[in-house]
Amino acid sequence: MPSPAAAIDARGVSKVFRGDGSADLKALDDVSVTIRENEFFTLLGPSGCGKTTLLRLIAGFEFPTEGTIRLYDQDIALLPPYLRPVNTVFQSYALFPHMTVGQNIGFGLEMQDKPKREVAARVDEMLRLVRMEDLKDRLTSQISGGQQQRVALARALAPAPKVLLLDEPLSALDLKLRKEMQIELKRLQTETGITFVFVTHDQEEALTMSDRIAVMSKGRILQVGTPRDIYDHPEQRFVADFIGEANLMTGEIAATTADVAQVRLVSGAAISATLPAEARPTGKVTVMVRPEHAEIVASTASATLTGTLESTVYFGTDTHFNVRLADGTAFVVRRQNDRKEGRQLDPGTPVGVLLAERAAQVLRD
């Protein structure tokens, strides 16, 4: 498969904010990332990890302390925002309150000195794209939050930027509207073919919408991959914990083949676990198992792990079994519910946990 062109290529980017008196703050620390053409790329991480800062460096509102940022073949790290073919959807929408919906959407094209008729035609096209034809002449203060969101999108898409940056654009919407807009955003991205760089701290949003996700923490990018990669093969403890739920156990590498290791757990049980890319760990390691990738059984005879059931929690779609393993670590098993009765496990009884082949993932230290 020929690798698609890189839309954004950041190399060794650092951003230091000079603190007044106190210590300087390193908002980004040696970040390198390649964002491909036409992809829905998500920056995911907890508050303060530097997502907005990275986006602002790409938009041109801040300039990197170190490193280069390329847009296709152009080094843009030091260009002012108005010279970058990149547009932003702001978290607060930042619609111009003294202009109508139509004027807002046409603003970018007007600033590029496009002919009036072309601007008007494009504005109508954009209004159709976000399904807002009827509200063209309203002031932006006279439309709802969800509609403002659409106008902000249309305004940023109208000049057909090479890359669209979205900083938590859905966080101000209520849950239902948010789900709608997630689908809408995905549709817009596919229809326009524009590269989207999307910021969120909502892992579910990231998993459902993205082509690829970069997980960030404390100014660094920890892992970049497809939602499946990130979820099934987290390489670091932070990634495993931040996305979904994770059971962590310590063990020792007994043998490794190409990308699978045999790990001997403290309890004595041996399991097979996938390895992080390009890593050949030896000795003591931490392995991770997702709660839904394990199975709970009443008999301890042939189980991989054994322990005591401490409690069960019913969630409607599934049930969580909180198990205390023989060596004292906590382990959660999730089982999808059906309507069959029976097979009840009582708290306090000994239980066994079964792990499928490759259900576990070895983490980097």
């Binding site: 108005y82 547009n87 702001f90 607060s92 930042a94 309150p97 603003f107 970018g108 600033m111 000049p159």
Partner: protein, 266 residues
């Protein structure tokens, strides 16, 4: 449910409010009423007449002074508003730094220094300048008025800028607007109500000024307020009331005009 706290239900609130209203408006009302007095005192009502308005209209010194006031005020207000707009942009579009508070104080100096002190200082300086240059026109009054009007124009403009969302300008730059166009298309329209309010305040303050004008004016450069002050030292006739009434109407008209202008803009 407990009634929400409201100052209106406090004992004595109504009384105090009424006293304040009477103190503020009763003298003005009386003044306006006696402008229409047929007699020549401001104390005894002798019937309705417009003779004092006619007398004022025919008094060339009053017309002169009024025209002078109406020349100085808009020019001074314009200069003050332009300077204040730039000052407000410079003091709000920046991260706070040591010395910023000092700058605020510096810009607002006319609000803090006693007016009489400024007046005397200007008198001394301008009288020297007049000797050097030989120029003794309205320029001095306009400059002096512009200077002390700056804080009145500055405060509403700064208040407006402080509530303005900086991301709007960032959004404009993101949409290919160069800095000057960001200012023309986004910053200026959004701060316009503040500028109008600032101009109006500066205009009214200039129109109203007595102390500095009295000290700075050359011979024969009376503005309406200094003319009135001069007249009050002599016999007081309802002509004064008539002038005051017109002056009052003028001020109210100016304020209302700007009020409606700025309301339409937001």
């Amino acid at each position: 449910m407990a009634r929400q706290f409201s100052v209106r239900h406090q004992r004595g609130f109504t009384t105090i409010a009424l006293i304040c209203f009477f103190l503020l408006y009763l003298p003005i009302a009386t003044l306006v009423v006696y402008a229409f007095n047929a007699g020549s005192t401001v104390g005894t009502w002798e019937g309705f007449s417009l003779r004092w308005f006619e007398a004022a209209w025919e008094n060339t010194r009053i017309i002169d002074a009024t025209l002078r006031s109406l020349t100085i005020a808009p020019i001074a207000a314009l200069i003050a508003t332009a300077a204040a707009t730039m000052a407000a942009l410079a003091t709000t579009r920046t991260a706070p730094y040591p010395g910023l508070t000092f700058k605020y104080a510096f810009i607002n100096q006319p609000l803090m220094v006693p007016e009489i002190v400024t007046a005397v200082a200007l008198l001394v300086v301008f009288s020297q300048v007049k000797v050097w240059t030989g120029y003794s026109g309205l320029g001095y009054l306009i400059m002096a008025h512009a200077a002390f009007c700056i804080p009145f124009a500055y405060l509403p403009i700064r208040a407006r800028l402080e509530t303005m969302d900086l991301t709007l300008e960032r959004a404009a730059a993101d949409l290919y607007a160069r800095p000057w166009r960001v200012f023309r298309r986004v910053t200026l329209p959004l701060m316009w109500p503040g500028i109008l309010a600032g101009f109006m305040l500066a205009f009214v303050v200039s129109l109203d000024d007595v102390v500095i004008t009295e000290f700075v004016k050359s011979a024969g450069q009376d503005t309406l307020p200094t003319y009135m002050l001069g007249q009050l030292r002599r016999a007081v006739t309802p002509e004064m009331n008539a002038i005051s009434t017109v002056f009052l109407a003028l001020s109210v008209a100016v304020v209302s005009l700007f009020f409606f202008l700025s309301r339409k803009k937001t």
